[in-house]
Symmetry: C2
Subunit: 464 residues, 2 copies
């Protein structure tokens, strides 16, 4: 089944041009037109692309070419381009455009996209851009920026359709037909109490299919899950995933409706949060594919620095057994096997635990159950690999006792790896530390130290 | 900023009961009611929960308790429960309910959810369930199952609103008011050509705000991105992310409209696909948190088995230098440092590259650029850590030449790690192999072998 599926993937991947606007051919043509300083040619090529594809094009170009392209792009594209660009590249593009152009572009975006663009500017640029935005819009943007980063307040859109609870379906439809300032597209309308608390949600399809004199309160979905504006975006995406939400009202501290979050905003957050977890587990702060080598080296340094201490700790453990290694050189040859297997088995457990914590499948209710199971899994595989690795060593060094020492150390380290792989992330999560970012280094310290200590220690006792 | 944010997270995480229905208290109360065989008590507790929370409750319970709860749940809950359950637990619940109950539940689900439940049953169960479903629905489900697993055809919903291109807004609204068989909630309607090809999409909000005599073709969004039914779900989620889609028509081989995929279906896929990548990078096939220890051990075995060969390969490299280690025991003590730092630096690069390939930020167009940059990053950090680790070794062993050997080996291994971390996933992706699943083992083989070989080899040349 898996092979069939991979073949499926294959055929899809070979012809991405069928569904994506930006093909390698277009990229090449744009580069040629840029080099020939053929502005009209670039415009024609870019015109055929979706703004998201133009953003990809800008991201793929390097250095001067990127600057050249941005400077000749039609200003009508600036708003959508900024909304679709990767953060690192956006900063660069903002500097090419200058505050006035950016302010004009920001004015065209919906409030959530505008806040997203502005929040990433440095203080000076932000002041300049805000200064160039008309006062009304500036007030909305500045209010948006008062919410914490990565919070519901930043994700939400202020443009929404809100009706009082004493209205009928007919009044609501007439209001929507006659008002000009409504959002471009919307899917749900919200019913509020006199104190502006959201008390219901109506899907447009339902509204459309109901007779005019019916009260909105009769057809509304009651008690929609109101998201507090200060809620973290990860939490928001959980709510949407858990309850299959399409739109959720956002309330301020007093529970008054201040905005709406729709599922299409959540799509990006889910993608971002998953990316964050992948990066953290790999010891990287964020995707740095568009960053310069110097910045990338600097941001990866800290993780490697921590790992240097771990590695030295492991070496110190080995140093305790220098006389044993001096006598039996086979110990030096074989000692990385136990440590490496422990590291890998522990990483398996860790990965499952970190993800399960993130999606709330692992909670404090079933924590002990999971730890127990992982200990068992470590034990099963520990015994299996003790036999396999032991047999290999017996065959290689023709020394049954040496093979036995390795086998015993393997069981010990794989059980410890199972326990540590579960306990470390659970413990970190309980203490309020992000398990994705810190678990790995603790785990490898444990599996290296225990791996070397158990193998060399047992050798010292049993072989000498 | 980061600290403030973490505190934000903290306060949110401490009070999940405010937003989630299932609290530890309710879990405990349900367990008590189950143990007291208090069916009415369980019903009352369960009634207050959303179906998604009931699914979580069923997932959290172990063994007999899970069976007991499922058997006394009201049948009205079965459909939603099945739709929300994790795959492993769903199989178990299906066996408790039996084919008739499952068939009844499946009949209540929308076509995409129903296919999702049925596709995971084994052949015998599937036949039994399909046999108990009314013929019309069975035909729809069987057709859904003809599409490849994880394809757009499996994700799509057949229930949708489709109008011919010669209709007016008024005719469309009247049709929606008068027809009973429409989906419960919908957001976009599709306009088709006489040959049933999707030629346009209209957001309900736009329809509502347009005068009745206007033609649907005048207000429709033209040329919606039609997704082929055979497209892989990962590809579908890319399209939605790339172009901020809310709904996309699905076409069969002839391009005829057969269904619709909405952004809320895509949310789950994005989550699933990210989870798959996280798991594969961690050497695990799938989240196995709800699996029994025996199955988990078996599924994790193969990855560890491959790693055993890697570890033995590294040991063989060390064995070449047994005389050197015999003479200078410090070599054995220090050799894991270089290998470990290389493994970690390589994993950083690998993680970024695998993710960038998955989200199409890394393509064959910028592959060389990325490889060049990662080589540079490896070089920068190689030099930095050569100095740091060299200084530590000089201080520890008071041997400048030994420190120099370690430093030189560190530079070599970190540069190699940077190159390998980029080249391996790119190469695998080009050959059509999933880079997430296979890159790690290749990488650690390279960094271990090069790490040990460069350090011990340089020592053999320079120290003896």
């Amino acid at each position: 089944m898996a092979t069939e599926l991979d073949l499926e993937n294959e055929t899809q991947r070979e012809r991405p041009e069928e569904t994506y606007g930006l093909t390698p051919e277009i990229e090449r043509a744009v580069i040629e037109a840029l080099e020939a300083k053929d502005k009209a040619g670039v415009w024609t090529l870019v015109e055929s692309l979706h703004a998201a594809d133009v953003a990809d094009l800008v991201e793929h170009l390097s250095g001067d070419r990127r600057k050249d392209l941005v400077e000749i792009l039609p200003p009508t594209l600036h708003a959508d381009l900024l909304a679709h660009l990767d953060e690192t590249v956006r900063e660069e593009v903002v500097s090419y455009l200058g505050p006035k152009e950016v302010a004009a572009a920001v004015g065209e975006l919906e409030s959530d996209d505008a806040v997203e663009v502005i929040q990433e500017l440095d203080t000076k640029e932000r002041q300049e851009v805000l200064g160039a935005v008309p006062p009304e819009e500036r007030a909305i943007l500045e209010e948006g920026l008062t919410y914490p980063e990565e919070s519901a307040g930043r994700m939400m859109q202020r443009e929404m359709v809100v009706v009082p609870s004493y209205w009928t379906v007919g009044e609501t439809i007439d209001f929507m037909r006659e008002t000009d300032s409504l959002p471009q597209d919307f899917y749900d309308i919200f019913v509020v109490s006199p104190t502006h608390q959201p008390i219901g949600k109506i899907a447009l399809s339902r509204l459309l299919r109901t007779r005019r004199p019916v009260m909105v309160t009769e057809i509304m979905y009651q008690e929609p899950k109101t998201v507090p504006a200060s809620m973290d975006q990860e939490e928001v995406s959980h709510l949407f995933l858990q309850y299959d939400l399409v739109a959720a009202p956002v309330g301020d501290d007093g529970g008054r409706l201040v905005g709406v979050i729709t599922v299409d905003d959540v799509v990006d957050v889910i993608d971002e949060e998953a990316e964050e977890d992948i990066m953290k587990l790999g010891g990287v702060r964020e995707t740095d594919i568009y960053q310069a080598a110097v910045y990338t080296s600097r941001s990866r340094f800290s993780w490697l620095f921590v790992n240097l201490f771990t590695a030295i700790a492991a070496s110190i453990v080995i140093a305790f057994f220098d006389t044993e290694i001096d006598k039996i050189v086979a110990l030096a040859i074989l000692m990385p096997i136990v440590a490496s297997m422990g590291g890998n088995a522990g990483t398996q457990t860790l990965t499952v635990a970190v993800r399960a914590l993130a999606v709330r499948e692992l909670t404090m209710t079933n924590a002990w159950q999971v730890i127990g199971k992982e200990t068992l899994v470590g034990g099963f595989n520990g015994v299996l690999f003790a036999v396999l690795a032991g047999a290999a060593v017996w065959f290689w060094f023709e020394d049954l006792l040496l093979a036995g020492v390795l086998a015993l150390a393997m069981v010990i380290n794989l059980v410890v790896a199972g326990i540590a792989g579960a306990v470390i992330p659970i413990g970190l999560a309980r203490s309020g530390v992000d398990p994705a970012v810190a678990s790995g280094v603790f785990l490898t310290t444990v599996t290296d130290v225990v791996g070397f200590f158990s193998f060399l220690g047992l050798a010292a006792i049993l072989l000498l």
